[in-house]
């Protein structure tokens, strides 16, 4: 079931004939950007709260409990206000232009990457053919920002962090991409919406991991590479708080620092979305199938909703269910990343390289090859 952009259709539906097409596109874009910015900030705040709760409960404590009443839900909000209020400090020896530019670039590139992320079958910002490559490429851009910040800070610790980030991301882009190749071969598309579509059936349980046995190791490899890509423990070497003080963010404070923080959580969510779409069924789940079935039963259609269906006839329940399912899958991925973080010690930089080049890359290649043969034999 392929649908047009919900917002755009909605606007086209209500706008008078006189309004030109480009205007609706512009308004759609503006709405999309604001939704994205709001989404990323809320997501980051929620993830920070979740991280603190998860780490707290893993460590036999509660985490935030006071602000906002129920389990300190407003703690991140309060922290955000505090970060906004803080003095904007730029070290004297820093390269001011790069220092200011770096957090913006980091956050901007992750926003860019999120543009290709679908939230619901009909709610996306950009339906790109090469969606996965776009996401991987844009999220790799954050590295440039991190290196910029490390250099511009003019601090030795920051520089170490930046160098580590550069080495690490270069090493892990490869297994990340290769491990994604396996589900891409099964899906036969780079488009996230189409990949999700390809997994419908079996009451929403026709996920790629169930279709091909070699996709299970591929998912594990993807998870490990995504951890490294998003600078999460045990691969948080660029910030490595016990070695490099705070790595590339040592000299940052206030809202600039929080940009790096937001980027980290947004990247986690993004990688989880990609993982969910290409391994774990995307929008598909028994609930989604149920919602779809209910809609079909109600509308009396033969299971195919044509694109001609107007905006007000779109199955909103289906969209909401599908979006919730995807978000739940992605948040589970984020939770898994947190769980790993609060369990494992940090690896050393040469071990990161060893793991990337000698373990993950060859294993990913083997998995891709095996997946290819499996697909060939089955077809």
């Amino acid at each position: 079931m392929q649908h047009g952009n919900l917002v755009h259709e909605l606007l086209s539906g209500v706008a008078p004939e006189a309004v030109p097409e480009w205007a609706t596109i512009l308004v759609t874009a503006v709405i999309g950007v604001s939704v994205l910015v709001g989404l990323v900030s809320v997501l980051a705040m929620f993830s920070v709260w979740l991280e603190r709760k998860v780490s707290g409960h893993i460590q036999c404590r509660y985490g935030p409990m006071y602000v906002g009443g129920w389990h300190g839900w407003a703690q991140s909000l309060a922290d955000g206000v505090k970060l906004l209020m803080k003095e904007d400090m730029i070290p004297l020896g820093a390269d001011r232009v790069l220092f200011v530019l770096a957090p913006a670039l980091v956050l901007g590139s992750i926003f860019g990457a999120m543009a290709a992320m679908p939230l619901a079958p009909g709610f996306y910002f950009a339906d790109i053919n090469l969606g996965v490559f776009f996401i991987l490429g844009m999220s790799a851009l954050t590295t440039i920002g991190v290196i910029m910040s490390g250099w511009a800070s003019n601090s030795k610790w920051s520089l170490y962090g930046a160098m580590r980030e550069a080495a690490q991301v270069v090493a892990y882009e490869i297994p990340l991409g290769i491990s994604l190749l396996a589900p891409l071969m099964v899906a036969g598309t780079f488009n996230l919406l189409e990949a999700s579509e390809a997994q419908s059936g079996w009451f929403g349980m026709k996920w790629f991991v169930f279709q091909n046995p070699f996709l299970i190791p591929a998912a594990v490899l993807f998870f490990v590479a995504a951890l490294a890509e998003t600078k999460r423990a045990p691969f948080d070497l660029p910030e490595a708080e016990s070695e490099l003080v705070a790595g590339f963010m040592t000299e940052y404070s206030g809202i600039r620092w929080s940009f790096f923080f937001m980027e980290e959580y947004a990247a986690m969510f993004l990688m989880s979305i990609v993982g969910a779409v290409f391994f774990f069924g995307g929008f598909e789940s028994p609930f989604t199938s149920l919602a779809e079935w209910a809609f079909v039963a109600e509308s009396g259609a033969d299971g195919v909703v044509t694109e001609a269906a107007g905006i007000f006839e779109l199955p909103l329940l289906y969209h909401v269910t599908a979006g919730t399912v995807l978000a739940a899958k992605a948040l589970f991925g984020v939770f898994l990343m947190m769980w790993v973080r609060w369990t494992l010690p940090r690896v050393r930089i040469d071990q990161v390289m060893t793991m990337g080049y000698k373990y993950l890359t060859p294993l990913a290649l083997v998995v891709v090859l095996a997946t290819g043969f499996w697909e060939l034999i089955l077809s």
């Binding site: 036999c60 490595a240 930089i349």
Partner: protein, 409 residues
């Protein structure tokens, strides 16, 4: 390599070592040629405010990229003239000061000092007092090793084991709080015994703690010590061969990690430890080189983690044979120690804690000298740190388990 090009200096000699168009010989014997790139080692101050130096220690590190080419610890940021204070306050009044040098093992410090004074007094210590002293010293050893365990995990990026270790340490501190009223600086021991008998039910609580601790100890081993990443981070890192350990005068887990069977509790039996060793109540844990070379960081860590179980065994033995009786020898309130001198070395969690006290027969010591184990163990850093990576520096400093309060005193 990178810092140089940021500077605006045009004269090459202005900025450190310049090896342009020269060759240098690498440790492997290979000749490395530097053509145009001006390179210099980067000097980094690790500390005094750094998360991994366990206090206010500064290590001046010279690095070539991530590789450390030289390291020099600088001390003295926490110097409080503890020994000089000992020459100015009465014998008993110095006891609270001993809490403060190795603040993670205050009971052991109290023990060392009071034993040194008792050696001059020649006073017989009641048996129950000795039992309580042993129980407290070993409980504190567990607490101290728990910190060593937790902070070592923290140094290597594992935060959760630290919190687990603190959970048990909190319990241990609550036990001490019940018996002496303080949580960190106990001053529970007195010259001649301990100042207070146990509150009712305290020994039972200690036994319960031992039971639970043995269970939790298995988790520590599984969660951190046997973790693959942890093993890879610590095995073959910071290897101290037995020879070097002897040369540097290392003591405690540092020397036992290098495979040398040296434990003052057994070798120079003091208090009840001779009896305990004869009864076979505890074993001396030695590094075995199970995961890498003998004497690496993992071995030292292993010794500390396993010693906690030995301490539990000692506590159990004491709990089994403790009898009612007086807890302090009858001594005058204002103590006058006969002229003379005494040196008593005890096995602190970090190694040999020696107290050398001189009396001229008065109310105040003539001289108090402390041989701190962390201070002596720290010297080895300079020898084992070059040639490792920056992340290993943190692992090595953590494996020495220094308490800066004691190195500086």
């Amino acid at each position: 390599m990178m810092i140089e090009s940021q500077g605006k200096t045009t004269e090459p000699q202005a900025a450190g070592v310049v090896l342009s168009e020269k060759a240098r010989t690498l440790p492997s014997g290979e000749r490395e040629f530097m053509m145009d790139v001006r390179t210099a080692d980067l000097e980094v101050n690790m500390g005094p405010q750094h998360p991994a130096t366990h206090g206010v220690m500064r290590i001046l590190i010279r690095t070539d990229g991530e590789l450390i080419t030289g390291a020099q610890p600088h001390l003295g940021y926490l110097h409080r003239c503890a020994e000089k204070i000992g020459e100015n306050v009465e014998w008993l009044q110095y006891l609270p000061y001993t809490d403060r040098y190795d603040y993670l093992a205050a009971m052991n410090n109290n023990l060392g000092y009071s034993m040194a004074v008792e050696a001059m007094l020649g006073e017989e210590i009641p048996r129950r007092a000795q039992m309580l002293r042993t129980i407290c010293a070993e409980l504190n050893r567990i607490g101290s090793h728990l910190i060593a365990f937790g902070t070592y995990g923290l140094d290597l990026g594992a935060i959760t084991p630290f919190l687990y270790a603190f959970r048990e340490r909190e319990w241990m501190m609550a036990l001490f709080e019940k018996i002496c009223g303080a949580r960190l600086t106990y001053s529970y021991l007195r010259i001649g015994g301990v100042f207070n008998d146990t509150p009712p039910g305290w020994l039972g609580e200690v036994e319960h703690f031992c039971d639970v601790f043995e269970e939790k100890h298995k988790e520590y081993v599984d969660l951190l010590m046997m973790n693959h990443i942890f093993v890879k981070r610590t095995a073959d890192i910071g290897v101290i061969p037995a020879e070097m350990a002897l040369d540097f005068g290392l003591t405690g887990p540092m020397i036992r990690g290098s495979g040398i069977d040296f434990d003052l509790r057994r070798d120079t039996p003091y208090m009840l430890y001779g009896e305990l060793a004869d009864a076979g109540a505890f074993d001396v844990i030695l590094g075995s080189g199970a995961k890498g070379a003998l004497g690496d960081c993992w071995d030292r860590f292993y010794v500390r983690v396993m010693e906690m179980i030995e301490s539990v065994k000692i506590i159990r033995w004491c709990l089994g044979s403790i009898e009612p009786g007086p807890v302090i020898a009858p001594l005058p309130k204002v103590l006058k120690v006969p002229a003379g001198e005494a040196y008593v070395g005890i096995e602190n969690p970090r190694g040999e804690l020696g107290h050398f006290v001189v009396s001229d027969g008065g109310k105040v010591a003539r001289r108090v000298r402390v041989r701190g184990p962390s201070f002596c163990n720290l010297a080895v850093l300079e020898a084992i740190m070059p040639g490792t990576l920056l992340a290993d520096a943190v692992a090595i400093v953590g494996s020495t388990d220094v308490v800066i309060g004691e190195t500086d005193r």
